[in-house]
Subunit: 492 residues, 2 copies
């Protein structure tokens, strides 16, 4: 495929000047347009060493308002970054809505390098491309524009440019071991690039191969391609209104089978709790040693007892190794990013444990019921969430998810108890009462959620919550079992 690129393509000075002048007027207007539309844009710059990525990029950005873009220079992952799943560092560096993020090298860098280093063991490379396809699709499905450039020059041209750089003291440092190695292994790299383009050119995030022998040609090609991609910034957005199929009444729900009469006896409770807490503390140390991260999601009805349950879960843990992060409605910067962005940022580091007090499931619960997400958005989210959790599990994270379930009558009793006890009144708000009125809609949303996102690697555990003691023992026991199993499966 690379051989189809016309490396002799070039532009005369006059052609260049005329075209660039027009683009210099057009691009800032398009930039403002995407600002108004609130659309984020990701531009990937890959290419051969000395292909001119830096100068092409500089020229491209010159007419744009610099407050509206940011350049990310991607290096090999640091030690800290390796404590998280591979895409974590890219999720943490996404352009806010309405701005452009430019990646000087990108998520492709490491795959290309591993491909060549690994002697072509294709399995990890294939897995990486799948991760990348998912990453880019999740972004574009949620309205982002992704444009990817590969700047292509021949091996001969690269040799010529290296020679020129080396001749100038000011630039000689730019040709180092890595660059010389790439030149030596040009053919292997070319193969890797072909694979990359084939595997990751998708309709939503296509590659543009840019002949870069003539810099003028490359500049114009990049600018024109970008301009075309930005002309209709809202193209990727789902239509505001679509015909939403009416919810057929559920005949069965995973919640039907929950036996809310389950209780734990008061006598056994204290001892059992203490034993489980001690065991979890022991497992926490093993997790740290084995660098295994643990994510625990708590969702549940209002007043289901999440707070007290979480407190018992972490009571004996070393506070240096866990964190409990509460989530409410997104604010500020969170609203200018993909809905999963803030959860990626809060993930536990390898060896640590994070409890999510509410989570990414808000997308298919409150956002669905209250209409904050459109039908297309929340209906798509089941898949996105499954992909997200698969990424975590692939990295080695233990993902445990609890739905704390109580009956509608029990909720009412607890609301009233809170209302009537002055020291507990802060726990109950008007919003709780409003949510209660939508019990049936939430019931539907919860049932769908459990059904569609209970996976082998990240299953839901429904916790019978009418008896708080039972609920606390059950969550603790589940965590101990799941974490224990993960550890022995890894070491055994």
């Amino acid at each position: 495929m690379l051989e189809t690129v016309d490396l002799k393509a070039k532009l005369s000075k006059e052609e260049y000047k005329g075209t660039m002048e027009a683009l210099d007027l057009q691009l800032p207007a398009l930039h403002r347009g995407l600002h108004t539309a609130g659309v984020p844009v990701l531009i990937v710059f890959e290419g051969w060493d000395a292909a001119g990525k830096g100068t092409v990029l500089s020229r491209l950005l010159q007419p744009l308002d610099p407050r509206g873009f940011k350049v990310y220079t991607i290096k090999p992952p640091t030690e800290e970054e390796r404590f998280y799943p591979p895409m974590w560092r890219f999720w943490g560096n996404l352009p806010p809505d309405g701005t452009i993020g430019i990646y000087d090298r990108s998520w492709y860098r490491q795959v290309l390098e591993e491909y060549v280093e690994s002697g072509r063991d294709k399995a990890p490379v294939d897995a990486a491309y799948e991760r990348i396809r998912v990453f880019e699709r999740q972004l574009t499905d949620n309205g982002a524009i992704v444009v990817k450039f590969f700047l292509h020059i021949s091996k001969k041209e690269q040799a010529k440019r290296f020679k020129k750089l080396e001749a100038d003291l000011a630039f000689a440092w730019r040709v180092g071991d890595a660059e010389r190695r790439q030149h030596r292994c040009y053919d292997e790299y070319a193969q890797a690039v072909e694979d990359m383009v084939r595997e990751t050119s998708t309709p939503n995030a296509p590659w543009t191969l840019v002949p870069a022998t003539d810099e003028r040609f490359a500049r114009v090609k990049v600018a024109e391609t970008l301009a075309a991609a930005l002309v209709n910034p809202l193209a990727a957005r789902p239509p505001a209104r679509i015909n939403v199929p009416p919810d057929a009444p559920r005949r069965t729900s995973p919640l039907d089978r929950v036996d809310l009469t389950e209780t734990a006896s008061a006598e056994d409770y204290g001892a059992a709790l203490a034993e489980l807490q001690a065991e979890l503390r022991r497992l926490q140390h093993l997790c740290y040693k084995e660098r295994r991260p643990v994510a625990i999601v708590y969702e549940g009805w209002d007043a289901a007892g999440k707070g007290g349950n979480i407190r018992r879960l972490v009571r004996d843990l070393d506070p240096r190794g866990y964190e409990v992060v509460p989530f409410a409605a997104p604010e500020g910067d969170e609203k200018r990013h993909h809905y999963l962005w803030r959860f990626w940022r809060a993930l536990p580091k390898a060896g640590h444990l994070t409890v999510f007090d509410r989570s990414w499931y808000g997308r298919v619960l409150v956002e669905r019921v209250e209409g904050f997400a459109s039908y297309v958005e929340w209906a798509r989210a089941y898949r996105e969430i499954n992909e997200f959790e698969a990424d975590l599990v692939d990295y080695g994270m233990v993902v445990i998810k609890f739905w704390l379930h109580i009956s509608k009558e029990e909720q009412l009793a607890r609301f009233e108890a809170r209302q009537n006890a002055p020291e507990k009144r802060w726990k109950i708000t008007d919003e709780d009462w409003r949510n209660r009125e939508r019990w049936d809609e939430y019931w539907q949303a919860v049932s769908d959620m459990v059904e569609r996102t209970s996976t082998v690697h990240a299953p839901w555990t429904i916790v019978e919550g009418d008896d708080k003691r039972h609920a606390r023992l059950k969550t603790l026991r589940t965590v101990v079992e799941r974490v224990g199993a993960a550890l022995s499966s890894r070491t055994g």
Copy 2:
């Protein structure tokens, strides 16, 4: 001073149990109180290796709602962190308002270690303590509570504990080279600790020396001290109303001397601009090479031409090495932190350049004029800002500050031009007109700002902006001069 600590202090089981039970009830209530009051709390845990920091800390946190605290384990700075001023990593890890941040080791760690390593060269240590005093004062002045513990044991006790740890395979790894070294140099460390406590025990952030031979005693002492500190969470806040001295009318202002008739001739402009841009690009590379960071602040009247000026400034720079960051009113997480927090986070990395399109000076401009900050808050901010910039300059940052000045008549002309040109109308909002009505108040605030925050190391440059060409040349020239001078002073 350490010898005054009664290392034999201990508590019987009964005393311990009774006291701890009461504290276990009291602390969660205080925790909720500071949540309601929106007060952040910082708890520093320092102490000898094996003094029991981990277990004391775990016990302290057990009764608290884990959603309301976070533990930061402080290690020596990473390579990445060394690219920023020393306090940067701590500013980036502050508890949001209403929550507790616990520091297992802290900003004191490195000072203690350097003190011992450096053979007692006191100059850098003194500078570090001054930085820390400023840091803690800035936090407590803005309402935070800072509580600092040093867990003290004797050399003999430490030896005993090391022996016990080493005897258990599960814990032997905890006694490594660093710990053995500390034990060998116990006396030097003790001297360092004495200095630390003397130099940084301030009324707003006092140290508590905790005898830790008896763990029960240490646990109670820490919990009691914390409870006392949290009883009145709003104590550190300035009173809501104080008698604000009326502004005496200014007789003179630095703005009086600005000659707004300055212009640049159209003929020379293009060539001069291009020459300065090329020179700045050259300097950018030298900055990168010498790892010198540059911060450029743009403040100015609405319609003073900031956007166009910034665009010319960065036009030829390598986009991988600079960033333009616009600032508007704080949102979300920003509102739950010290007002300088978001600016610390946006600082340029060593070798990079950041343009602040509006900045920390909002505290003494819009926040003062609009009443978002109280008199006490904005009046204190001049000093805080000078300290902040001193920290940056000490680290080697070049700090350049522009006030883009135009006449009231010129502003009106530009507002009207924007209103009347459809393609420019997006640039003007109702807020611009409202701000204009407060011209005189802003004039006063700007005059005070320039007068009080123009320092030798970070002076203000007032840019005559009625003629945009003149303004653009002047900012560029200033940046070229200031950066050039900083580089040669460093290399020469």
